[in-house]
Symmetry: C2
Subunit: 340 residues, 2 copies
Amino acid sequence: MKQRHEYILGEVVKAYLDTGLPVGSRLVSEQGGTDLSPATIRNVMNDLERAGLLYSPHTSAGRVPTDTGLRYFVDSLMVVDSDIHARLDAEVAQSLAGAADTKGVLRRASDELASLTHFAGLVTVHEKRIRQVRSISLIPVSSERILAVIVSDAGEVQNRLLVRPPRMDDAALALASGQLNDLLHDCSLAEMRRRLIREMEADRLKVRELIEALKNWAEAAETEEPEIFVRGQPQLLEFPEIGMLDTVRSLMAAFEEKEHLLDLVNEVERTETGVKIFIGREHALVNMEQISMVLARYRGAENVVGTLGVIGPRRMHYDRVLPIVDCTARWVSRVLGGQL
Amino acid sequence: MKQRHEYILGEVVKAYLDTGLPVGSRLVSEQGGTDLSPATIRNVMNDLERAGLLYSPHTSAGRVPTDTGLRYFVDSLMVVDSDIHARLDAEVAQSLAGAADTKGVLRRASDELASLTHFAGLVTVHEKRIRQVRSISLIPVSSERILAVIVSDAGEVQNRLLVRPPRMDDAALALASGQLNDLLHDCSLAEMRRRLIREMEADRLKVRELIEALKNWAEAAETEEPEIFVRGQPQLLEFPEIGMLDTVRSLMAAFEEKEHLLDLVNEVERTETGVKIFIGREHALVNMEQISMVLARYRGAENVVGTLGVIGPRRMHYDRVLPIVDCTARWVSRVLGGQL
DNA sequence: AATAGCACTCGTGATGATAGAGTGCCAGCC
DNA sequence: GGCTGGCACTCTATCATCACGAGTGCTATT
């Protein structure tokens, strides 16, 4: 592509990102650091339109970059201000430092993404499920309740209050706890369920209710919903192109039915590390052609991994958002890696 | 109020609930079980308007019930179909039965509220915070991690993975666990924090890092966010009176900043048990004049209490929604009371 | 007391004219 | 040959106008 064409594409994109409106040849001629006449620019824009990088909503509107146009801009033309990283770093670090636990870190991360970008911040967690049981213990809580705690090989913990079987004192409980631990040590949830059923049939452990409860738990844990933290949705409505009723509906639906979002987000998973940008139709979410996403993976210690990023209008300033997402992902990884 | 006036108010309200549009005298005259002429009805409607129960958006539109008009309808005119309870009961019970734990029950409840009413279902949890520590225990997890578990006097459990101090074997851990338990047994979170600080200063327990971590935890737990489950928000957008941009924005903001919602919801708390209805401006949420809420308390065992209900358009069929909320609250209470 | 009729008001939707923005193309200029 | 100024053209957004329909309030009538 000729240098002039690149230059003009860049100018059109920049103007579009600022205003969200179609940009005409005159504007480019006047604002840009060039002294080309509108007519010349029109010719170039015509070429760009034929190449599929721009398009006109109608005859006498200016041009708007297509998804491919924006993509070209992001991939080849955009320069990310490197100074920004330094300023961001402190801000993000401070915000995450105050968090108490993993959940808190992720919540704050989504908060921070939202407030830095003024779009919606999104953090998802994958792989948190217990795949392999490392240990299980039963702890007395009161005369009527006991607490069961399962720790996975990934260090993830789940616990639940259970009803204490009648006539089971603390000693018996400790014994049962040991037995259970021997039985279930290092097996998967499915295996755990199977073994518990076998035990129930054999009625070896005498505490049928307890085992039943554990079995139900194992079943439930397998089908648990993935978690997702979203902040700043209302901010999106400020953008008229998103304020369309259909878009809002789809957006809310997407956040509520997390599956679609997660499918998409999994793609980032498969990509190399780094930030991945989806522009307009590049994600396949319907009614969300006006929406872009900037996502990155993070990876804490203990197999806590996931995706975080920003959902905003197609016309966001990718050069500012990209370092924000990148920086946040790095810090989340660092904080989680250090603390958990 | 004269019987005829009540009758006509009722007809207007019913028609309004169906269509959401202003209703004129002719419509009432034709649909209703009366043979009064439109002119007569106009006179009555005029009286009702002066009484503040109806109002006209403009000269030649029909009448719309005011908040007070709807309130009068709900309090005095509405008859709740009692058959509905029986059908609901089975449905709700079945839906909640499948849930694995408290959180699951609440999530399903909000789901069920949303799908039964086609509005947004809302479930909040109060009083789940730990006020008084009943017991604390440290459990070995791996050579590098230990699990700290705090059980409150309300039976609520919180746990957290901590880094195991170097050179602390399982025996030392058990010892420390006992000591801590003696120290912190039956004290409030604030008190727990104070004692831990004192211990740190005296350096009596030798495991400074551990205590520090616990202290941080106590601080974080005090400021923890209340939980809230919302489902079915997108369904609200189907109603044109809610599809207004301002309303949507306020709605999303309200769900995101839970404080306002919770303030409101706390009012239900103070009321006697039963279902409480907020119509339009009766709640003080700005930009949400077109929105009503139907809320009820639930109360499980172990001090798990909260509020649940429905957020929908002002023109909802209160006679159908009311039993749904009521029934759900009862079942949530029952299920949580039985299982926890 | 209820009704019928009528004049009046107001919002809605269609129509048409106008101004403005921006293009495409052509002829001329460097 | 590439760039530019000029011009005709197209399309949209906006506004005023108009007719229509809906519904009311009032008054005369039964």
